[in-house]
Amino acid sequence: MRSRISRHLRNVPGAPPAADRALDEGLTTAPGVGEPALPPPELNGRDYAIFLLRLAAEIEHGLMVQYLFTAYSLGGPTVPEGRQADVRAWQETILGIAKEEMAHFVTVENLLTALSGPLNFNREEFPHDTVLYPFGFKLQPASLGSLAAYICAESPAEWGVPEEQEIKERAEVGTGAPVNRVGNLYAELIRILRDPTLVPSSAFDAGSVAFQASWDEWGRGYREGARGREAMSSLPQLPAPELLIIEVGSRAAALDAIEQVGEQGEGLEPGTENESHFQRFLAIYRGMKELGDGTGVRPLATNPTTDLEGPDVGPAEDPNTTTPIVNEEANLWAHLFNVRYRKLLVNLSHAFELSDDPGDRAALGPRGTLIHRTFSEMYNLRAIAGQIVVLPIDGAQPDGPLAGPPFQIPHTLMLPPDESGRWRLHRDILDAADTMIDRLRSEGSAGGRDYLAALAQMDAIERDQLELLIAGSSRTPAGSGAPTP
């Protein structure tokens, strides 16, 4: 556990000393109405809110990645005849939840921007830090155990469903500890942000909206904030994802954003069946229980990693260690996956550094390009994952576990302070990608060759554009840089 984080959680008023229970139990014992809500020692109210929001960003990021991994594991040759549509629907449902988590992640960054706080695009990876997460970060295929953990993480305080005990027990077996509710963190945030003595109104920077992500730019045709039911056009039996990308310029907007995000996770209101993440995961859990645990799932290894000799490497059958991808071709694809994942995060964080100036809406800048490229990398991650999940993790064991997308966090996600440096970073990442693409084209099998040729051309086009941006940008921080704290 990171002591720089945990010591503040330990000191939450009323929190028990056990660090790994602090988030769950400590935050739920918050002061009642009329009772002063004190931030932990060393922090004031605004700083504490920023602290919690940075945790929320990590959690949303982590959940999104884990859900994507689980979704990618669904399908394959073990799906029983006649049940393909069911399994495909589960997969699309989890992919939809992951998209909504992405929107939560972006909205939390908006909240940080509104409070003039440092943004956080990072997250923990294995080994995990249980106090910060609802459960230990683990990339694992779909199973009753992994679904149980997701249900618990997204659960409301009162479940009201008959399988509650069974699911909690199954989740604890899989994670090694009771699963914390994400909702607790948002409840604490609401408690802090609601109180003007802790966070004054002046802490909310209305002008920062120009730097924030908006549904107009990031919504991509998905539903905007209004809750309601709408079917997907392609899979009409499923509700379409609803992306909550909420701009925040005031206390009221901040509280509304947090309430909406929290409700989408755990929603138990009448009529929200199949709408909250809790309800949707529960439906899949019930479906898989009926079909048979692990049926219709590719046998992806748990916590696959490109690192063959890392400190956390353990036997493939141990779900609490990482599994090295020793198959050389799969390892190359996994490296390429990590590079594109980094590129996605750098595009996203860079977009937040550039404003959408409402006073000059006709001006075209690189912000829109970065947003498009963020989506382009989502497409690439999906494409590369498709190559990885068909390859055995160990070439010597063709019938053994399959590799999976590793989602390894880069060594840093901090951006250089000036635009020139930022564009150079983009170019560096392309260099790394090109190396992997070249090796796959020369050393790999036939799989994915058409894609690699297209990706190489795409990167060459982007490189030409980057050279122009590098040549045209100065080394001094850009005028449209980060919002003034």
Binding site: V79, G221, R373, N380, G386
Partner: protein, 445 residues
């Protein structure tokens, strides 16, 4: 034995050009090493016709393609072929040998071509504004001019729609063909006084042909409402008050008929020809074309599962890329003479004048790159995922932000609403979206 005749292709589209030599043949193909780039134009076998004899004198594959000759655009002059449905149920090219077997010769094949330009008549409602050409029946191999005449033209005036020529079969090329060479792509004018000899003063015009005293085309204004109006109306050259300046062009379309009398029977067939502007982006195809409409009309609005292939989806996305590559997206997103402006001007329901997309997103290069990345990802053989961003035909009037941002975006359909793909194209994409995400999923246990 020949049972029936067909003309293939049943629809041939020529493209204007004033050069003497028609355009050489070529294919537009995707370069596997540059899959995101422009289609490569690959020269293909070209037939050379001797204009005097009407015979094909040689075939060749050009070393390089040139779209102009002596500064003039080379016309695209399609061939139409007569095919025979035989007693064996086979459809095969009609040849001189097949005619001989029926005790007939190439001279027994008789053609008639009728083309017209009804653009002015379509608006004025005056049948005397129709411009039409008719070759009458012929069986020789000379060029037959398609001279467009009109009751409201000045005496002796005409609009040349090009010409047709029955290709004389030879031993090397025994097939029965006709070639349609379109007009030059010129603009013709109207006047209320008898036009003087020589080149008209208006530099746009080749000749002044229309008598503005006899017909109403010169000065015509589309009336308000009515079923005859196009949406939007007024799509003709007008003066500052919207009155037609009387321009006409040599675009046309019509029928090619063939007739063959054998053994006491008369067999016949017809096909369609049309002429339009040159393809100034020959390495690009539109996102929705006449071919898509015909395919939907022939095969219906849904596809069979076996027809839903990634290659076909990739072709649609490639055409989307090729369309967006030709668009000035920042301008098209602004409220003006664009769909953004059109939405605001609609009488009902109308909406506040606003750009369609977030302005930060419509940089043309960035959008081109986004579509290229779509294309790249599809080449991984993973299923498409973008079924929900497609605009359904029922949504062309959805002027909400979300409705206006569906794909294809910022483009107008023939009915004045936002463009959609055909139902068949949409169904093709969504069929694959519903299927397995990753390629090896055969689904069966």
């Amino acid at each position: 034995m020949i049972r029936e005749l067909r003309i293939l292709p049943p629809l041939a589209i020529a493209r204007f050009g004033a050069a003497a030599t028609p355009m050489d043949n070529y294919d537009a193909v995707v370069d596997p090493e540059q899959p995101l780039g422009y289609r490569a134009l690959r020269p293909a076998e070209t037939l050379v016709v001797d204009t005097d004899s009407g015979e094909i004198t040689r075939t060749f594959v050009p070393g390089r393609l040139s779209f102009t000759e002596d500064g003039q655009v080379r016309p695209v002059a399609p061939f139409v072929e007569v095919w025979a449905l035989t007693d064996a149920g086979q459809l095969e090219p009609l040849t001189t040998a097949m005619l001989e077997a029926e005790q007939a010769t190439a001279s027994d094949v008789r053609w008639q071509v009728q083309v017209a330009n009804h653009k002015a008549a379509r608006r004025t409602g005056d049948a005397d504004d129709r411009i039409a050409a008719d070759t009458r029946e012929f069986a020789d191999h000379a060029r037959h001019a398609l001279d467009g005449t009109c009751a409201n033209f000045w005496p002796g005036k005409r609009i040349p729609f090009g010409h047709v020529q029955y290709i004389k079969p030879t031993a090397a090329h025994p097939e029965i063909r006709l070639r349609f060479t379109p007009g030059a792509g010129h603009v013709y004018g109207a006047s209320r006084t008898r036009p003087a000899a020589g080149r008209p003063a208006d530099p746009n015009l080749t000749d002044v042909v229309y008598d503005g005293r006899r017909g109403g085309w010169l000065g015509h204004v589309d009336g308000a409402g009515g079923p005859a109006l196009t949406v939007p109306a007024g799509i003709y050259r007008g003066d500052v008050d919207g009155r037609s300046v009387g321009y006409l062009d040599d675009g046309c379309d019509g029928l090619v008929r063939v007739r063959l009398a054998i053994a006491g029977r008369v067999l016949s067939a017809y096909g369609r020809v049309g002429a339009g502007p040159p393809a100034y982006a020959p390495d690009a195809l539109p996102i929705r074309s006449v071919a898509d409409e015909l395919e939907q009309a022939l095969f219906g609005p849904t596809v069979q599962a076996s027809e839903a292939t990634l290659e076909r989806v990739e072709e649609i996305v490639r055409r989307a890329l090729e369309s967006v590559r030709l668009m000035n997206t920042p301008a098209m997103n602004r409220v003006g003479d664009s769909m953004a402006g059109h939405d605001a001007r609609r009488p009902r329901p109308g909406r506040r004048p606003e750009p369609i997309m977030a302005p930060s997103l419509v940089d043309d290069i960035a959008l081109e790159n986004l579509h290229q990345s779509l294309l790249a990802a599809l080449r991984s053989d993973t299923a498409p995922w973008f079924g929900d961003v497609l605009r359904d035909p029922e949504e062309i009037g959805d002027l909400s932000d979300r409705g206006r941002r569906k794909m294809p975006a910022m483009m107008r359909g023939a009915d004045g609403g936002h463009l959609t793909l055909t139902r068949r194209q949409i169904d093709l994409i969504r069929t694959l979206v519903r299927g397995p995400v990753f390629p090896e999923d055969d689904g069966a246990a």
